[in-house]
Symmetry: C2
Subunit: 132 residues, 2 copies
Amino acid sequence: MTDPAPAVEAANAGFYRAFEALDLAAMDRVWAHGAYVKCVHPGWPLLVGWDAVRASWEQIFASTAEMRFTVADVRVASVGNLAWVTCTENILSEVRGRVGVTTVLATNVFERVDGRWRLVHHHASHVLAASP
Amino acid sequence: MTDPAPAVEAANAGFYRAFEALDLAAMDRVWAHGAYVKCVHPGWPLLVGWDAVRASWEQIFASTAEMRFTVADVRVASVGNLAWVTCTENILSEVRGRVGVTTVLATNVFERVDGRWRLVHHHASHVLAASP
């Protein structure tokens, strides 16, 4: 069987491209659509279902002037048609006129449906310290 | 095929029981052991590999006098031998003499090997606000 890692990595890169482009139509293509889709933005409560997740992207894109990602330390693991990715998002952003640099750790879960890897779960959180 | 959700929920509950008991031997049984095992404690950087993950539990257990979980909003989804769970951890803890109450959102990924669901990824982060 073909190693799924390159295709999963490509899907993961597509997610950050859509985020950077603030492109809701691209996000529509990156994500699976359904009630079991979930998303945790840094510090936010859990969003459940594609409608809620999509609305959050709409809200984030509306309030963001610019967003640049340097995604590092991408690690892919997969079992059958499910893959989970961890990566570090180094983010330069301008939100409501404020420029900020931040580091976020993300877990992204992708499901392969009809040969295409789609995002079903995104959990992002701030890295605060080396350890408590 | 049997719905895997009850077995995954039981495995998830076992993780929090081991955490609450500050029981490293129980953690050994909850987790898969291997280089692809990963863990994000709230605010910590990514830990990669069972050795690093196990050492973090050892460190947390050593500095924690008491830990009580009320785990809520447990949601299970699975595709084949991989399942991902989201839940809210309401935590009452005493760490280095300080009692604290906190709410943490967790993504737990379990892999079924030889009929047993084992934790392969834990990502926990603080809930800060309803939305930015």
